[in-house]
Symmetry: C2
Subunit: 316 residues, 2 copies
């Protein structure tokens, strides 16, 4: 049972309580879009005089699409501890830049070789391969430029901690390792545990950082931070499983990209290994785990509960 | 004239004054190599159980070669303000990781398409293209992991400032922009000023960061920081001009890579635009500018004077 005091606090810190989940998600995505637009040269920073192609390609990769789930998770996690949206927005944008860079590089011919992303030509198709590599590099770098700047957070200890956390999540023992494992020769023969580990690195690490960054920004006590990490782990697995189900079921319009490619490439997916029914059961369990992890926060975590339900429900 | 007091201080902070410049450079390179080896998984950090290919490729790209000029500049600049080598070593290693990532990506088929680097096959030749892209991504990311960690510097304000500085130097308005300009269609028709601007971004930005980071680590007063930046600007131009002269003169053994490629690709170089004689004169002027910038530091900056002379003398 929540105390009246907590209920009041929850009402206070949730910005516009009467919006639906989808309205809240869209509203936050709008904030992120506007801020990314400013951070990537529209208004903010020095104008890039010549060869604006690089900046254009970065903007093409980042703006005008995406649910901004990672930024939403970060901002909602921070909001649990009373951090205003504006105070977590830059960290959320930095995270989104890293996510978008990873998509640009993953789509390259030498990697997943995808022509379509969010229903549009991928960056190396819209521009060229060199520009896509450089735009990805620049998006990864700008994430740390955003986090390093005092404008993202006045406390240098928090800035340095977020830099460290994002670098670890995104790097050679996190997301990049996950992508390397996904492309490796060992990939085809992976077990359920092996695929889960690969996915925990490839897509899970950034979801975990999103929630952990919220805790860092909110100066959360250790058990609260641990609860958010548990939530994030279940969230990441649920998200990926839903994605795999969509891929297996071949709904290109829902995914906004080519479908059935994993199977066509001979990659073991959890759907193939478990079968669709067991995969759906696993998804239900993960959903329960994610919700259970949020229990300590009570009604304040309502939006995070809705977020994981949303992430999992994309299969329906 | 230096006061006796300054002379004594200079003697104190220069670690082993009787070594020659080349011995000092080699000694520092050895420190950097050992530390990079530890930072990239030999002893430090969690072992990468499966698919060690990514870590191997990162180590291949970073270890066992290079003069470590950027780390040397960083450590010597910091040393001007009494910062011990061990206290600037991690920042120096982070910078070297960024430099090495840029080489790995620049060598890719979609970019400069080089097969040879430091006399060895480039990363995409020794491994494959996907691994080279990912190893580059991971090296860029690990640089910020190193700078974000408290082990690199106990002061979070300094850590955040170095992160910001490195991200700006390496990113979309620094090194990556320089590489984009170098690859762009406009490249062939660039004037002397245009080529100089491109080079100031592509190679100059990291040299500037090296010296500025030394000032940050040493909590230098503003005029000292400005003096080091002037030095770094002249250094970067001198270094690049010497490189271009080597390339034009076709000494593959000194460069450790293929020569004459810029001209063969129809790229305007400063040598082609100025002619070798005027290029050499420009190099002499830059050398004077670099040395003049160091005047405020007196004999303490002797090693930095020798460093720019070394960078420029590679043409002889």
């Amino acid at each position: 049972m929540l105390s009246n005091d907590l209920r009041q606090r929850a009402a206070l810190i949730r910005p516009i309580p009467k919006m639906t989940f989808h309205e809240q998600l869209e509203r936050a995505a709008g904030l992120v879009e506007t801020r990314l637009d400013a951070l990537l040269g529209n208004g903010g920073g020095a104008p890039v005089a010549k060869s604006g192609t690089l900046a254009e390609a970065m903007r093409y990769a980042v703006l005008g699409g995406g649910k901004r789930l990672r930024p939403f998770l970060l901002m909602q996690s921070a909001n649990l501890f009373g951090v205003a949206e504006q105070a977590s927005l830059d960290a959320a944008c930095a995270l989104e830049c890293v996510h978008c860079y990873s998509l640009v590089h993953d789509d390259l011919p030498a990697m997943d070789d995808d022509d379509l992303r969010r229903g549009r030509p991928t960056v190396h198709k819209a521009y060229d391969e060199a520009t896509a590599i450089l735009a990805g590099d620049a998006l990864l770098t700008v994430a740390f430029e955003i986090l390093g700047a005092a404008s993202s957070n006045p406390d240098p200890t928090i800035r340095a901690e977020l830099v460290l956390g994002l670098a670890k999540a995104a790097g050679w023992q996190g997301m990049v390792l996950g992508q390397a494992l996904d492309l490796s020769d060992e990939r085809a023969g992976l077990s359920v545990a092996g695929v889960a580990r690969m996915q925990a690195l490839k897509t899970g690490a950034l979801f975990r950082f999103a929630c952990e960054a919220g805790a860092v920004l909110g100066r959360a006590i250790s058990p609260d931070r641990a609860a958010l990490i548990s939530y994030a782990k279940a969230f990441g697995q649920a998200f990926q499983l839903a994605d795999d189900l969509l891929d297996a079921e071949g709904d290109a319009s829902a995914l906004g990209k080519a479908v059935g490619k994993d199977a066509a490439r001979g990659k073991a997916t959890l759907i193939a290994l478990l079968g669709p029914e067991q995969a759906r059961e696993r998804l239900r369990v993960l959903l329960q785990q994610a919700e259970a992890a949020l229990a300590p926060f009570g009604a304040q975590a309502e939006l995070l509960v809705e977020t994981v339900r949303f992430a999992a429900s994309r299969t329906h």
